[in-house]
Amino acid sequence: MINFVQLCINGVAIGCIYALVALGFVLIYKATETVNFAQGDLMMLGAFFAYTTVGLWGWPFLVGVGAAVAGMMVLGALLDRIVLRPVVGQPAFALVMLTIGIGTVARAMTGAMPGWGTETYSIPTPYAGNKVNLGELVISVEHLVIISVTVGLCVFLFLFFRYTKLGVAMQASSQNQLAAYYMGIPVKTVFSLIWGLSAGVAGIAGILLAPITLVDVNLGFIGLKAFPAAVLGGFGSIPGAIVGGLIIGVIEALAGFYLPLGFKDIAAYVVLLVVLFVRPHGLFGQMARKKV
């Protein structure tokens, strides 16, 4: 039993990472109907940014992380402005391929960047290696930090979308572009800001993940596991993405322990396929029936 609880806690911590990446997908998908296949690579870039500021330049941890996240937000907004905006309105397939291309370019550029390269790095964190004992449970501080930052970020995003003018504008533009435009919302700028927000969230996910998996160029492939999470959540709902991420994380942790070797890596995808075959638009997704 204690084993089970322990596994669940580890699963929830990893699930939080999936949830954050899935959250990034959902933010962008809701607004622009683009699935950003480069989200995992944005996560990798976020980790590398933090490695640069904290590890290479020796900035204080919080300052360095803040700078890295800010850098990610600018990068995300620029990406939308320069690469994505010219292809708005093209078929979804073109956009999927475009973001896949961006992801591979980001990986190659990171690998070729002087000072980054293809080795594995670690970001010095003030909390690395500490553990908390709760009775028989052992929870590492890294996992606690991941869970609490995720919760904090969710609360922040909820308040942001609910009470700020910009948040409401973002909701409006993702619900109906044309109506939002008529109401005087600068829809294009809002889209860029959403990309910035999403890249920032991805960056935070990368930095949180860094103490567990270390930082390397292929960190982004972990982001692919966020697809099952986002699909479970229905791709259009922010709470759905969080719940989906947690479910995937826990399933993976349990599959790794109770099922034979190899199931850990594919458990998430098996769940994804089963869900898609039963409900083709995700668990919480709305059925889309096109009017003719």
Partner: protein, 365 residues
């Protein structure tokens, strides 16, 4: 300027619209089939190298053709086509290992792969666009894991040696012999697909791509045509995989991962979606870029030249630039150049201008 003056309905579905096309394709075929002869004269000692490049080019074009049928003509996105490549390759190796004679094993490998394609298609019928892309991606990951873990059959991560091709008692181990096998398969498949696309089934595929609802209203059996497209696409890709197995002569699951899948997508997107020429143009890019890169590496600073992901990065860059600046791909550029000469000196850039379109939403408001 050439004018099309139609006098019969047959003109629209002719294999070749103009007589000079027949001549050009004949020249191309003769050039390809005599390549081992004239390459020896032109390239001398390097001939074997060029023949093996031509062999992989033709195999790659075949794989591209498989994906093109599905993505370019039926409009179904697949991020998992490398799985069919893998299934074809492993099926070929395992069948040959059980003593199935060679040409039959190719056919069986293609059929096995096609059958798996049908298995994927049946649930995939309910999925659209994005969800289909993600489901096929999940399928790829699962197949790759199966190839790695099913050790009694596939040899797992230790890999699997592929027996040589033996045709009527002769062992085909020379490059030029393999080249002919691949070339014949590729030409036959291209001819089959060209003819299929002129038929009602082919037209139905294109109709589904352009508007599923319209196709359904016109009496197209969407489920059947989609399933057939999956079968055909998987079978052709599987055949290409089986041929690849002989070229590689040693199989390991890593060769059929997400990178291979992306390379296949690079073929169809960069080559030009919805054109068979595109599959060939894309294959040329896919085969030529690594060769050019290995030449360029001597002149690049070592920090960049030594990057392991350089090749994938260059493909990604080509992909991004293509989608941004030439959505019709290489084939689109080819059309524009031809049109420029046909219209000379009256070419207008605006002819091919991308139409401004509002975002087509798939949501219900």
């Amino acid at each position: 300027m050439r004018f099309l003056f139609r006098t019969t309905y047959d003109q629209d579905i002719r294999l070749f619209q103009f007589t000079h096309q027949k001549a050009w394709y004949a020249v191309l075929l003769v050039a390809l089939f005599t390549a081992p002869l004239w390459l020896h004269v032109v390239a001398g000692d390097n001939a074997d190298y060029y023949i093996s490049v031509l062999e992989s080019l033709s195999g790659t074009a075949l794989a591209g053709l498989g994906l093109m049928v599905l993505v370019g003509y039926t409009g179904q996105v697949s991020l998992g086509h490398a799985a069919f490549l893998g299934i074809g390759a492993y099926a070929e190796a395992v069948l040959l290992g059980y003593g199935v004679p060679f040409p039959l094993s190719l056919v069986l490998a293609a059929l096995i792969s096609g059958f798996v394609g049908v298995l994927v298609a049946i649930p995939a019928l309910r999925l659209v666009g994005l969800y289909l892309a993600i489901a096929t991606f999940a399928f790829l990951i699962i197949i790759q894991e199966v190839l790695a873990r099913w050790e009694s059959v596939t040899g797992g991560n230790n890999g699997l040696r592929v027996p040589d091709m033996v045709l009527f008692g002769h062992e085909l181990s020379e490059d030029w012999q393999k080249y002919y096998v691949v070339l014949i398969c590729t030409v036959l498949c291209f001819l089959a697909v060209i003819n299929l696309l002129r038929s009602p089934t082919g037209r139905a595929m294109v109709a589904i791509r352009d508007s599923e609802i319209a196709a359904q209203s016109l009496g197209v059996n969407v489920a059947r045509v989609k399933t057939f497209a999956f079968f055909l696409s998987a079978a052709i890709t599987g055949l290409s995989g089986a041929l690849f197995a002989h070229k590689a002569s040693f199989l390991s699951p890593e060769a059929f991962g997400i990178i291979a899948s992306l390379n296949l997508l690079v073929i169809v997107v960069v080559g030009g979606l919805g054109s068979l020429h595109g599959a060939v143009f894309g294959a040329i890019i896919l085969v030529a870029v690594p060769q050019l890169l290995s030449i360029a590496k001597d002149h690049l600073p070592p920090a960049i030249a030594g990057t392991p992901g350089l090749e994938a990065g260059v493909f990604g860059l080509i992909l991004v630039l293509t989608i941004l600046f030439e959505p019709l791909g290489m084939y689109g550029r080819w059309m524009k150049i031809k049109f420029w000469f046909a219209m000379f000196p009256l070419y207008k850039r605006a002819t091919f201008k991308r139409q401004k379109s509002y975002m087509k939403t798939e949501r219900v408001h």
